[in-house]
Symmetry: C2
Subunit: 482 residues, 2 copies
């Protein structure tokens, strides 16, 4: 009697389970959190790094992968906690669902939970193990080992990354084509961070975003900065404090410099993250934040308080700040595009002091900001004091080819025209397999984000093209191993 009940019950359960897997596509990726025992120092066998550390990663093992056949989509983690990137790179899992791929999000050493020496990771000399080369070797070793463990030796690997992560994806393909069949590099400023191009370009393009929305917006920003400058010259610090709701009265040109950096940084961030819907990447932002900030500026009664309210979109999204503490909300560092908010500023500052060159200036001529130069000399002085290092201009260009990329293949360089990083990257296709995709309405790596009903058609088309190219690379890679 028990038997007659149990058997139909089991069959029903199996049927339900089968139906569920056949008809349900989970919109949220299901990741397993893991740690990989990673070589501490790939480039010195007798260093303090003679051992391993636990490298944090996420893997979507059974969700979409056609086991031992489907490709591996590998996100080359950049300067932050890898989970933040996983949450903001929905395109990867959407594509994995369609192409039967395994997804791995790997965390960059010295960020998130992948701190090789725990809290001492940011000490000297421990921090010395933070380099682009070590990060790439981490990913190469990790992929090679995981493929063995998973029985996935024959599964082509495609790398994905945004911003610095996109640079890492490019580097993975040119450095390890034995391991990586192709790369989607979204908003990867591989030229400007290698010291190539115009040092005025970045803030010029930030300015263009505001000007393009409304030329009066740019004029108002410039006027506000000019007014601040006049007050500073008059040493009217009380006025400045009240106008900007500062917690402490500024008392020196240094404080004014900090205030200028704090303000400029808000505009930079909003230009980068000018998405057509509200987001929570780095910080909580409304849809079309450039529009929002310009409307705030243009509707203000006086330009200084309007400027304060405008940057509040970045620094006071929750409305909880009653005053601004300049030195905690913004940290000046070797990256003039911002080190202070959300991202792990210590590690990124170190990278900007060593391999990644970002001597970008604002000058109030080609941009709307106060003149804030950042020369190689200033970088050298700062980095020597802060990290006891001497930057090596030209190294990144030597090491990762600069624009001499013609021997490479299977790389997509996608860029959004709204993104101030875009013109520091590859904007024109270099060959039939080095393809630039430009997204007129796109901000910083919009194409990597999950589909959204507010998406402009240009990003929808870009993602379609990317999907086609990736499918093609996977196919070709299967036919003849790379």
């Amino acid at each position: 009697a028990t038997f007659t009940i149990i058997v139909p019950l089991l069959l029903l359960l199996l049927l339900l389970s089968c139906l569920r897997s056949a008809f349900t596509i989970d919109p949220e990726p299901q990741f397993i959190e893991k740690y990989f025992p990673q070589v501490l120092d790939h480039f010195n066998y007798n260093s303090l790094g003679n051992g391993t550390f636990a490298q944090h990663f996420f893997v979507s093992l059974d969700q979409y992968w056609r086991k031992n056949y489907g490709p591996i989509f590998f996100y080359t983690g950049n300067e932050g906690d890898i989970w933040d990137f996983a949450l903001n790179t929905g395109f990867l899992t959407e594509l994995a669902a369609v192409q039967g791929a395994l997804v791995i999000f790997a965390e960059h050493r010295f960020y998130g939970k992948s701190l090789p020496f725990g809290q001492e990771s940011f000490n000297i000399p421990q921090i010395g193990l933070l380099t682009v080369e070590q990060a790439l070797a981490d990913y190469a070793v990790m992929v090679t080992e995981l493929k063995k463990e998973l029985g996935a030796q024959k599964c082509p690997v495609i790398v994905f990354g945004g911003s610095y992560g996109g640079m890492l994806s490019v580097y993975m393909r040119i450095r390890y084509p034995n391991i990586v069949a192709g790369a989607l590099a979204a908003s990867a400023p591989i030229l400007s961070t290698a010291g190539m191009g115009d040092t005025r370009q970045f803030f010029w393009d930030v300015t263009a975003d505001y000007e393009n929305y409304n030329p009066a917006c740019k004029d108002t920003v410039r006027e506000a900065f000019q007014k601040l400058q006049t007050l500073a010259e008059q040493e009217d610090y009380t006025h400045i404090q009240s106008a900007f709701s500062l917690c402490k009265t500024p008392s020196s040109p240094k404080d004014i410099h900090q205030l200028n950096g704090f303000l400029r940084n808000a505009f930079t961030l909003l230009a980068m993250l000018d998405y057509p819907y509200s987001t929570t990447f780095i910080t909580a932002l409304p849809a079309f934040p450039v529009k929002v900030v310009c409307d705030t500026l243009l509707n203000g009664t006086d330009v200084l308080s309007a400027l304060r309210d405008a940057v509040g979109i970045v620094y006071n999204a929750t409305g909880e700040q009653t005053c601004y503490n300049l030195y905690s909300l913004y940290v000046e560092c070797a990256d003039p595009t911002g080190c202070g908010l959300g991202l792990n500023s210590l590690a990124w500052d170190y990278q900007a002091c060593t391999e990644i060159e970002m001597c970008f200036e604002s000058n109030n001529v080609t941009d709307m900001f106060p003149p804030m130069p950042f020369t190689q000399r200033m970088r050298e002085d700062y980095c020597a004091k802060r990290w006891a290092v001497v930057p090596r201009p030209g190294w990144l260009r030597t090491q990762y080819w600069g624009d001499a990329l013609l021997t490479a293949s299977n790389i997509i360089f996608s860029n959004g025209d709204l993104d101030p990083w875009a013109n520091g990257g590859i904007r024109k296709s270099l060959s039939p397999s080095l393809i630039a995709i430009n997204i007129p309405e796109g901000a910083h790596h919009l194409d990597l984000r999950a589909s959204n009903t507010a998406d402009p058609s240009s990003v929808v088309k870009a993602r379609q093209r990317e999907a086609e190219l990736i499918a093609q690379w996977v196919k070709t890679s299967r036919e003849k191993m790379f």
Copy 2:
């Protein structure tokens, strides 16, 4: 009156000088010795290597170079004093004369005069800065800087190397195609040193050289080793001492093991350096040394003293040794193909303990030598004790692509069939621009040596083909920068 004498005299001198440069081709390259201020540690900005060292190199500035136009022929120095390689790589200067090239011979860090920490270079942890990656970065940085200094920015660079130097040439092209337009890799065992292939291959092929000259030669060697083994088992050490003219009576299996290594090493070296004319590379050798050693072996009265006389070709070329000191003439290390003669054994031992995998065995079945295994486990034990390092098998294959080379281009893999290293390299063309050239009568990188009347036609033809391909790469590289 003075005037009428001086003017004709000056004209005569100018005419003579002009005639000299028009009709004299100097057969010996004229090099300028220089030092380059090289970055000590390319991969860590906070290491003990925060500075520079003087990297030794030679440059043939004005001899053949069509200034600011002709290509740069760059020899990627390997495990030894760079001057030795310059003296034994005459093909480079011959080719430079024809193709109007600048020649640079760059010394590998930790060899020759390029010791980053002087006599302390071989201490731990200083030795940790000796890696393939550092050496490649040295060459990349050096070429980039020298091109600027010489006003040679538009001159295509071709890299050349033999043996490990050939491996470095391959790696330079795949790693830095932005800098290097093509590579001639002569006798570069890129597979066997990356842990790929049969660990018996090397001594099998050494044996084949002797067998191919005369099967009786191989049999005599095996017989002699067998006789030695019998005497060792009988602990008849006095007999062994006298038969092999050893300075010290052996007294343990360890000494016998050392004797076996000492003997095997001579055969290895002669097989590698089996050139058709007398040479002084590594050691002074007669023409066709394999023939010479076999004739010695086959004409001896008893096999033991014949074996002693045979290895005397290597160890006693000058006839000055009255007895053999086993432990000074041969040093056992992590490279079973020999560490002890001529080359800088300390640094090479370290490289064999870290990145370069050479777990080659002799076994007396597939070869004529006594069984002398060298497993990864034995390598690990030795390297931990000697250098406090843990080898990382698989690293070289991950880092430099193993046989997954299809995305590369413009590489010649030349190999001589007499060379026991040959079958550890690329023997078949992989694509129209990854070209294998096999030289039936060639020993270890014979093609890199200067032309010689004793050259077999196969090497003459190989050099012609190499010259054509290199000229083609230079031309193409000029048309579109890489």
